[in-house]
Symmetry: C2
Subunit: 340 residues, 2 copies
């Protein structure tokens, strides 16, 4: 607490030299002890003396210095991806991070917000990560991947709808969600199918892919699909419901369960009978979707587990593959309840 | 792509020396150009030549080297805090990060999962951040704060129910949510008030504080509160509803809107009249809470904006305060709809 904050940290922070002086050992010994270097044998009393001195001075090793010495880091960079509408659940991220920590990597979330693919790749490269994992909307280009590889990243793993040259690719294809929903509605005998497209920017990419999948599923089936822009607001849902009968639609895939619950309520308030007049299907299998009457039909999405992804990252870091690996890690299937 | 991944990065990654050689300038010039050092005048043709060489070689500056040269970083560390039930909305984090990026800080999210307060503080200190912001369940102790300060952090900002010595403190007091809910129910004439306590580990800290606030609000009012453990599952809600009449309760504060929707549905399925027999209040003002009938009463929570927090961090970094600042940044008020 005693430092003058105006001073640069390099001077104000205690150094390994201070620890070495206090413990009466060499700086190398301090570094061996505090970085748990297994290669070097150091007596337990010395270890304890060094740890006590570091404790007393409040010294911690400088990650930057360590990574410069080592020539590489154990850092895995992942863009912050908290945008809603993505296929990966919260627990995926926690599981992924805990598992990588168990494997002695440091997970750093960085630069998912407001950077485009190549800006982000450059920012990540500056941290000299050993691996980069891109689950979000921010995906590096082939150039970004080569930049990362040349700056020392042993693995670049992208999760999304499209592969990137030079990167390992885990397919999370949102199109399947739209295809499963519309396939279910056609199977239930519906022919004029609305597809809700959220007006919010967050789910934009998701929404386009789900719509694409919905259209593909309808193709050649005799059914037609109609995109329906809608905001996640009662007013927007009410406006859409008010002109529902004019659209002549007999079904709707409402992007996800939240939009579906909102639209189904608005349709019921307009006197539209669900499912007799209009079938409604969401996606995500939210527990709350079972609380409305009729119970909401949905699409259940199964994705890669955080643990499995962490193991893949560790494997490709330890044994870099000649060729990038491609795995398909998302399954989507309709769950029929009462609303369709 | 040409590097042999087995080689340490230090050798395989292009260095500023390579860029200097290719551009025919000194390493210092490369560093001035690529780190946009304003102090030094360098001709535009030279800048362009250096950038072109860096581009060609795929060279990016090494953040670690730069921070060692500078003696400090512009890194703001924040633990990943994606656990549900917290008072801060997703858009808070995005706003906070975008604003700090605009102020030319680098936000790194790190170590919120599976590290206790002091382990986390040590891990953060290794990154030599200029500031640390702790919004989640992971809060450093007074020792952790001093460790961070001594390693050069100019500001440690904690957000939560309790202050930590030496750290700036933004009060986000979950107790107010419980107090607002129970105050409302008492105002509506209820006297036997259940308080749902989720069985899930995620919301544990939140739940304890909301219960504490609920109890405090009931004290001396003649009303009593009864904690009701419940899991976020239909079975658990049904079991609680099945023994509802035996409890003699005439109201329930159900932790948040999601638990409230689940429990209200289960009570209705048991034939319990909401609100006549039992009033139900949630928290969070979810749009979905307005979709059930009766419409769910709730507690609206207003917290600090990401922008305001970013500005506070920047100010205390630029002008370190003699004394840690305390601000109160959460308001909670009941919103009466139909379920209470």
């Amino acid at each position: 607490m005693s430092q003058t904050p105006r001073q640069p940290v390099g001077r104000s922070a205690p150094t390994s030299a201070d620890v070495a002086r206090l413990a009466g050992v060499s700086r190398a010994t301090v570094s061996y002890v505090l970085n748990n270097t297994a290669a070097v044998r150091i007596s337990e009393p010395t270890r304890l003396r060094v740890r006590a001195a570091a404790e007393e001075l409040g010294y911690v090793p400088h990650a930057a210095a360590r990574s410069l010495r080592a020539g590489h880091t154990r850092t895995v960079v992942m863009p912050s991806a908290r945008l809603p509408g993505g296929p990966l659940p919260v627990r995926f991220y926690d599981e992924f991070q805990s598992e990588l920590r168990r494997l002695e990597y440091t997970v750093v979330e960085y630069g998912g917000v407001g950077l485009d693919g190549d800006e982000a790749a450059r920012a990540w490269a500056e941290l000299r990560p050993v691996a980069v994992v891109c689950p979000g909307a921010t995906q590096p280009s082939a150039y970004g991947v080569s930049l990362l590889r040349r700056s020392g990243a042993r693995a670049v793993v992208t999760l999304g709808p499209h592969p990137t040259r030079g990167a390992h690719f885990l397919a999370l294809d949102e199109r399947r969600i739209g295809a499963a929903a519309v396939g279910h509605l056609i199977h239930r005998g519906r022919r004029a199918i609305g597809v809700v497209v959220p007006r919010e920017p967050g789910p934009k990419l998701c929404a386009e892919l789900r719509l694409e999948g919905a259209r593909a599923a309808a193709e050649g089936s005799g059914a037609r699909t109609v995109p329906l822009p809608m905001a996640y607001e009662e007013e927007s849902a009410a406006a859409l419901a008010a002109r529902w009968r004019a659209t002549g639609l007999d079904a709707v895939f409402a992007f996800d369960d939240a939009y579906a619950m909102l639209l189904m309520r608005a349709l019921q308030d307009e006197g539209v009978d669900v499912p007799r007049e209009t079938a409604v299907v969401g996606a995500g299998d939210l527990l709350l979707g079972r609380l409305l009457r009729p119970r909401l039909s949905t699409v259940r999405v199964d994705t890669v587990s955080g643990r499995r992804l962490a193991e893949l990252v560790d494997r490709v870091v330890r044994e870099p593959a000649a060729e990038p690996e491609h795995h398909d890690l998302m399954a989507a299937r309709a769950v029929h309840r009462e609303s369709s």
